[in-house]
Amino acid sequence: MEAKTGTWTEKKGLAQMLKGGVIMDVVNAEQAKIAEDAGACAVMALERVPADIRADGGVARMSDPDMILKIMDAVTIPVMAKCRIGHFVEAQILESIGVDYIDESEVLTPADEEHHILKHNFKVPFVCGCRNIGEALRRIGEGAAMIRTKGEAGTGDVVEAVRHARSVIGAIKQIQNMDDEELMTFAKNNGAPYELIKEVKTLGRMPVVNFAAGGVATPADAALMMQLGVDGVFVGSGIFKSGDPAKRAAAIVKSVTHYQDASILAEVSKNLGEAMVGRNAAQMPEAEKLAVRGW
């Protein structure tokens, strides 16, 4: 039999290998090494972490391919990179340089305010953000092989991550308890593909791996998301905007493995230095929220 590449099993499968792990934002090869040494299961290569994108304003785009390639050279773990929502040419470029996963991300400035990338057209797998089950299943319908709840990136405030994870996981429980007759109406009301709603009911979970993102800054935050039922966490600004990145990174890795063991969580939470300076997401004007990007 001829070997087949770029299959749905392959795309979903890499995300399954990342489960129980921490994916860290890094802006250069040196940070990527620190992340790998701390036990990150993958890194997200980008020019500026979300906290800086917020501070700088302007248009945030795909990173320089040369910078991404240097990070790919520096580490053996998978390297992800972000493209703008709907910017399928940025995605083509990222695929051509061989990144392991593309994040079609609301953290960058959207290139299309109506459409996302048709991700089935690519061999490289995609991860996309969501706030609720409808958004998650629309992205999977377009070919996303991994989902992350959005939270509010660059704030260090976990409240939005909790809101979005509870929304998605709550909806999955609700779907499981529905009669089959109710599924089409649920699909209609949530703007979700009917076939995928049926799949969620059969599986009793999301059809792809689901990580949490956006505001995770401490080991306790990471363990909170795991106990709520996500498969792993993304940490963006939370690590390299803190006082002691290497120590905090290793502590968050341990907290995701031992998320149910409070005595270990207490141990790894000790003496981590300063956490990133947070921004209260609830007091943020709607126009500044990144999570509302995505359709």
Partner: protein
């Protein structure tokens, strides 16, 4: 029969699902005390660097090495790397199996692939003689086997993707990502 699955990081839940499907009792292993009362252990796919660091941090290296002296261990992908003696770079390894492994041997994710394998030992053990559909994800290869380790399966080009040394088993691919339980059944026969 109770089989543990190393649950430091990776797709341990998928292995547990497969074991339950064939009626085996399971346990998640994160600390040395979780090895008590187990008849065998599966080390899942994931990132071998992450798994190695967590095993060192929680004092699992010695207990796992002791466990592997008398009990069955199976490593899939990252787990196979962790079982090996040599990978040509510096990261924590159990060194239980006489195999030399190369990480990410096929390239990056876009080169990950699925293919069918012929595995005689598996056919003999399970009585089910049809090709084994294998899923490789950023997979390692087994460059060479030595000592009592023997080759179980090769790709058409001759590269080794499964090996066995007594009660120790290593596969480059991921039986836990398929519906085919033959490899799990084979491992249970080694643990019995």
């Amino acid at each position: 029969m109770k089989i543990g699955v190393l649950a430091l990081q990776g797709d341990f839940a998928e292995h547990i699902t497969m074991l339950k499907k064939i009626g085996v009792e399971t346990a998640e292993v994160r600390l040395p005390k979780h090895l008590d009362g187990l008849d065998g252990l599966i080390m899942p796919g994931g990132e071998s660097t992450t798994i190695g660091k967590l095993a060192v941090a929680y004092d699992l290296m010695k207990p796992l090495q002791e466990f592997g002296k008398s009990k069955a261990i199976w490593g899939t992908c990252a787990g196979a790397i962790f079982l090996s003696k040599d990978i040509g770079r510096d990261q924590p390894l159990l060194g239980l199996m006489n195999i030399k492994v190369q990480r990410n041997a096929f390239g990056r994710q876009v080169d990950s692939f699925e293919t069918d394998l012929e595995i005689d030992e598996l056919y003999k053990a399970t009585g089910a003689e049809y090709p084994y559909h294998a899923v490789f994800i950023r997979a390692p290869i087994i460059e060479s086997v030595s000592g009592k380790a023997k080759v179980l399966s090769k790709l058409e080009d001759g590269r080794i993707v499964a090996a066995q040394e007594g009660h120790l088993l290593a596969t480059s691919f991921h039986p836990e990502l398929t519906d085919d339980t033959r490899f799990h059944e084979y491992f249970i026969s080694l643990a019995s």
